[in-house]
Symmetry: C2
Subunit: 585 residues, 2 copies
C-alpha cells in the first residue's frame, strides 16, 4: 500500500527502506551518500531513516511498537538507547510518538509526512486547474467516510489518510478564484507563522508563559495605533477572537467609561443606554447589545445614503430623539468598510456629532482597516484618529490567517479596569518581573490564543509597503471588475459609482429576463438567479462568490477581493463563469 | 553564513547547492541519485532543489527575485515556464513565494525550512537536558532583539531567523518539567492537526466554507454529550474561544431561557437575576456577569468545605435568601475541578437543589471534564448528566493544543434562539443544502476559528481509551507526588487527603522556618518562599510550577499534572529542585 505522503516523497514504506517500490534502495543509496563530504549525505540519510541525530544506524530487530510497549522504559537521558527499526505507520500509533522514549524517529517521520500532505495542498491551492471545492451535500459527506469517534485508537497510516481526506473535501481558501468571504487567500509567511504558533502552544494571559508573544502584541498594537493616528501610538488594545467580540468589547468599555458602577451593579443601576450604528453595519453590534443586557431594541439603526454610508443628519436626529425620551446615548459605531457595500461612513462628521453630545465613538474598521496601510486609499478613513476605539481585523483585507482581530482603545487603562478580576492564581502581585506585561485581565477571555505572531511576521516580511501594495492591487482589481460590468449587457449595478472598497455589488440578468418590465414578477425571478448560479459554481467547483438580499434589493452578487492570488484573468474568468452558468435561467 | 535551518538539514545555501559547506555537492549527488530505481532519487533531488515537479532542472541564470520583478508575468497555466535558479533566502522576499508565478520552488523550500526549525524545537521540547525557559525580563528582551515593525520588507533569511529567535525565548510548553498551567504538554497528532487547520485557513460559520470541519464539530459534540450522559447524545453545543467565554455563553443561555425578552429589551425588562457559584470557582463567572449587565454583586459565592467543594446547604440557604429579597436565582454554576484545589462540587446535591428551585444548572468542567474519559475517575462528576449546560475544555486535561473549549447544552435550539440575528449575507435561506449545518448564528462570534479538528484527530488516534490512559496516568502521578511529600520534612499540605484531580497544593518550609512558631511572622516569611523559588526556577529554567495565595492561606505551590511527557522521575526532580532552590530561604 502506498504511504499517504508518497505523492511528494515519503518515509514509511512497508519495509521501511524509504522507497515503497524498491526495498533496500534507500539503504544502498545511503551508503553511497556517506561518501560525499560536508555532511549532506548524513543529513539526507537521517531524513530517509527519520532520525537527524543517528543517521547511519539501521540495525535492530525490534519494532517501535514493541519498543513502545515497554511502557516503563526509563530513558530519561539522551541519547535514548532504545533500538531503532523501520518506520511502518500501519504498526504505529500515537503512543509511539514523542514523548515516547523512542519516539523521536517516528515523530519526525510522521510530522514530515503530514507536512508533505500540507505542502501538496498548498501547491494545489494556487493551481487554477484544481477545483476551489469538491462539493458534497452534508448527508453525502457524512456517509462517504466514517467520521465517528471510537474507543480504540487508529494507527498512524489511518491518521495520515484522515488528513488527506479532510483536505480533499476542504475549501481551497487560497485558490485564486475563491472570493466568497472578506477573508480569502493563503499567505505563506502567515501560514509558517501559524505553524510556529501551534508548535509553541501557549496562552497570552501572562508574560510568564508567553514572553515573546506578549511583547510582539505590545509592539504590534502600538504600531497599529500609530497608523490610526493616535499621538505616539499611545493607548491600549488587545487581539480578540474576531471582529464581533472586538465590537462587543468596545461597547462594554464605552458603557464602563460612562457608568463604571455597571461592573458591580449591572444594568439595573444605569439609565437606559442607546447605541447608534448604520442600517448597513455588521450584525455583531446587535449581538453584542443582546449579550451585554442592553437589548437589541436599544441599538438604533441610522439611515444610509444610496452608497451605504451613514447619514450624519439622521444620526443627530436620532440622538436628540433618544435624549428627549430620557435615554442615554452612549455609543456610536461608525463603519469603515461595510460588509456588503464596502461603504465608509463619514467619520469626520460622526466625530463632530460624538464630540458635541459626548458619546463614545467606535469605528468598526474590521474590513476597512486594511486601507490605512495605503497612502492612496487611507483618506477614506479620515477621522478614525478621533475615535475612542477601533476594531481592525488584519485577517480580512491584510490577508493574515484566521483569526487576527484587534481592538484598539485610545484611553489607556480602561480595558483593565473594565474587565479585571484579579485572579490570584494567574496575576500574582509578587512576581519578579514588570506586571504591566500580564495582559490577561484586560479581556473577558482567560486563556487567549496567540493571534499576533502571524501578523507580526508577515509585517516583517512585507513591510508596511507590502501591505500597501496588496491593498492597492485588490482595489485596482475591484475597479477593473466594475469597469467591465458597469456597461456590459446582462449586468445591473446595485449602486452607482466606483467601489470605495473592493466590494462590487451587481445583478446578473439572464437573457430571458432582459426584456421583461421592471415589475414584481421580474424581481421574483431575478431573486432566484444568484442562488442558482452560486449552487452551480459550488457543484462545478470553479469559483465561489457570495450573494445576498439587502433591504428591498433582491439577491445580488457581492464580489469582494482580498485574495492576493487573484489576477485580472481571474476577474475575467468570474464574469465568463457567471454568464456560462446563468445564461439559461 | 549558515542557513537558519541547517542544524537539521536545509535548502538555501549561498550557492544554492543544498550544502552550505560544499558548493556543488548536492548537484553531484543528485546525478548519482538518478541512477537508482523507483523514483526516490528524483524525489530527493527535487527536495534538494525545492521542486517536486521538475527535479533534475538546475539551469537558468535568472534569480527568482528578478523573475518576481516581472510583476505582470501571466503564467496562469501550469506548468509555469518561468526559469529556475537556486534558492538563496538572502535575495528572496515574501513576494517571491506563492502565489508569485514562479513561487512554487522557493515556497516549498521556505516552508520546509520553517518546518525543520519547528521539528528541532519539538525534539528539544522533550529533551530534559534543555531548559523549559530561557528567561529574560521584559526590558531585556525588548532590547536584546529588534522587534519593531517597519515600512520596508525583510528578506526570507531574516524571517527564518525571527522564527528561530522567537522559539529561543519561548516557553517549552511540551517540556516534561513544565507544570505551570492546567494546559501543558504538546501532543504530536494534535500539533499535526493544528498545522492542517492553519493550512485550511477557514471559518466555522457556514457549511459552505467549512464542510468537513462543521461535520466534525457535529460528530464530536454529539460524542461529548453522550459521554456526559444525555440520552442519545442529544442537545446542542459549540466550540468557543476558551472556558471563560463558554461559561459566559452558559450564563447568557440560562438568562434567555428564563426571560427571552432580555434579547430585545435588555436587563431593564427583567427582575434582578442572581447567579450562584462557589468561592473556589473560576473568576470567569464574575467576568461574565459584569459583561452581561448582571453585575458582579449578583454573583453569590457559596462557601466551600476544607477541600474546596461547594457546601450544598449553604447554596440552598443563599438561594432562599435571594428569593426572600425578591431576586430571581437563575443560574447555579457548579465546578468540576476547581482551578487551584482541583475540587469537584457535589453535583448530585446541586442538581437536586436546582431542580427544587427550578434554576439552570451549569457545570464548569473546563478542568475536570477530562475525567469523564476515565472509568476509574468519572464518578467524581456524578450528576453532570443532570446539568443544563457543561463547559469542558479538551485543551486542559486531554492535552489538545490551545484552544479547544466546548460548551454543551442539553436543550436543542436554545443557543440559536438566544444568539441569532439572521445576517442575510451569511445565512441565506435559499442555499442549496441543509441549513441546519450553518452553525454560525449560535454564538456571539461571527468568524470562528476551527478548534475541533485537533480534538477529532487526536480522538481518532488515541481512541477514548487513549485519553483514559492519559488521565489515569496523570492522576497516578499526582498521587505519587502527594504520597512523597505528605510526610516529608519541610512540606505542609494545604488540605488533607488524596488529590481528587491532579492538583497537589503544598507549602515548602525552608529549614529556617521549620522551628518557628505558627504566628504572623512565620506566615509573612512563608508567603515569600514560593515567589522566590518560582523566580529562581525561571531563572535557572529547570522547571515551572504555579503558586498563589487563596483566602487566608499565604502563597503555596499548586502542582498540576496534565503533561503527557511527565514521569515519576520528573516528579522526583521537582521535589529536589524546590529543595535545592529554597533551602537557604
Amino acid at each position: 500500500m502506498a504511504s499517504p505522503g508518497s505523492g511528494f516523497w515519503s518515509f514509511g514504506s512497508e519495509d521501511g527502506s524509504g522507497d515503497p517500490e524498491n526495498p533496500g534502495t534507500a539503504r544502498a543509496w545511503c551508503q553511497v551518500a556517506q561518501k560525499f563530504t560536508g555532511g549532506i549525505g548524513n543529513k539526507l540519510c537521517a531524513l530517509l531513516y527519520g532520525d537527524a541525530e543517528r543517521p547511519a544506524e539501521s540495525g535492530g530487530s525490534q519494532t517501535p511498537r514493541a519498543a513502545a510497549r515497554k511502557a516503563a522504559c526509563a530513558c530519561v537521558q539522551k541519547p535514548c538507547s532504545c533500538s531503532k527499526a523501520d518506520v511502518n505507520y500501519a504498526f504505529l500509533h500515537a503512543t509511539d510518538l514523542l514523548p515516547a522514549c523512542d519516539g523521536e524517529r517516528p515523530t519526525l517521520a510522521f510530522l514530515q509526512d503530514v507536512m508533505n500532505i500540507l505542502l501538496q495542498y498548498v501547491v494545489k491551492s494556487f493551481d487554477r486547474s484544481t477545483k476551489v471545492i469538491d462539493f458534497h451535500y452534508p448527508n453525502e459527506l457524512l456517509q462517504e467516510y466514517n467520521w465517528e469517534l471510537a474507543d480504540q485508537p487508529q494507527n498512524l497510516e489511518e491518521i495520515l489518510m484522515h488528513c488527506q481526506t479532510t483536505l480533499k473535501y476542504a475549501i481551497k481558501t487560497g485558490h485564486p478564484r475563491y472570493f466568497n468571504q472578506l477573508s480569502t487567500g493563503l499567505d505563506m509567511v502567515g501560514l509558517a507563522a501559524d505553524w510556529l504558533t501551534s508548535t509553541a502552544n501557549t496562552n497570552m494571559f501572562t508574560y510568564e508563559i508567553a514572553p515573546v508573544f506578549v511583547l510582539l502584541e505590545y509592539v504590534t498594537l502600538k504600531k497599529m495605533r500609530e497608523i490610526i493616528g493616535w499621538p505616539g501610538g499611545s493607548g491600549d488594545g488587545i487581539f480578540s477572537p474576531g471582529g464581533a467580540i472586538s465590537n462587543m468589547y468596545a461597547m462594554m468599555i464605552a458603557r464602563f467609561k460612562m457608568f463604571p458602577e455597571v461592573k458591580e451593579k449591572g444594568m439595573a443601576a444605569v439609565p437606559r443606554l442607546i447605541a447608534f450604528t448604520s442600517e448597513h453595519s455588521h450584525f455583531s453590534l446587535k449581538k453584542g447589545a443582546a449579550a451585554l443586557g442592553i437589548g437589541t431594541d436599544s441599538v438604533i439603526l441610522i439611515k444610509c445614503d444610496e452608497r451605504g454610508k451613514m447619514i450624519p443628519s439622521d444620526l443627530e436626529r436620532r440622538i436628540l430623539e433618544a435624549k428627549q425620551k430620557g435615554f442615554v446615548p452612549f455609543l456610536v459605531s461608525a463603519t469603515a468598510g461595510t460588509t456588503v457595500y464596502g461603504a465608509f461612513d463619514p467619520l469626520l462628521a460622526v466625530a463632530d456629532i460624538c464630540k458635541k453630545y459626548k458619546i463614545w465613538m467606535h469605528v468598526d474598521a474590521a474590513w476597512g482597516g486594511g486601507l490605512l496601510m495605503s497612502r492612496k486609499h487611507k483618506w477614506k478613513l479620515s477621522g478614525v484618529e478621533r475615535a475612542n476605539s477601533v476594531t481592525w481585523n488584519p485577517h480580512k483585507m491584510m490577508g493574515v490567517p484566521l483569526q487576527c482581530s484587534a481592538l484598539l482603545v485610545r484611553e489607556e487603562g480602561l480595558m483593565q479596569n473594565c474587565n479585571q478580576m484579579h485572579a490570584s492564581y494567574l496575576f500574582q502581585q509578587d512576581k519578579h518581573y514588570d506586571l504591566s506585561y500580564d495582559t490577561g485581565d484586560k479581556a473577558l477571555q482567560c486563556g487567549r490564543h496567540v493571534d499576533v505572531f502571524k501578523l507580526w511576521l508577515m509585517w516583517r516580511a512585507k513591510g508596511t509597503t507590502g501591505f500597501e501594495a496588496h491593498v492597492d492591487k485588490c482595489l485596482e482589481l475591484a475597479e477593473y471588475l466594475y469597469n467591465i460590468i458597469k456597461n456590459r449587457e446582462g449586468y445591473e449595478m446595485v449602486f452607482d459609482g466606483k467601489p470605495q472598497h473592493t466590494n462590487v455589488c451587481f445583478w446578473y440578468i439572464p437573457p430571458s429576463l432582459r426584456t421583461l418590465e421592471d415589475n414584481e414578477e421580474r424581481m421574483s425571478r431575478l431573486s432566484k438567479v444568484a442562488p442558482v448560479i452560486k449552487a452551480r459554481m459550488m457543484e462545478y467547483g470553479t469559483t465561489m462568490v457570495s450573494y445576498q438580499p439587502l433591504g428591498d434589493k433582491v439577491n445580488f452578487f457581492r464580489m469582494v477581493i482580498s485574495n492576493p492570488a487573484a489576477t485580472h484573468q481571474d476577474i475575467d474568468f468570474l464574469i465568463e463563469e457567471i454568464e456560462r452558468l446563468g445564461q439559461d435561467l
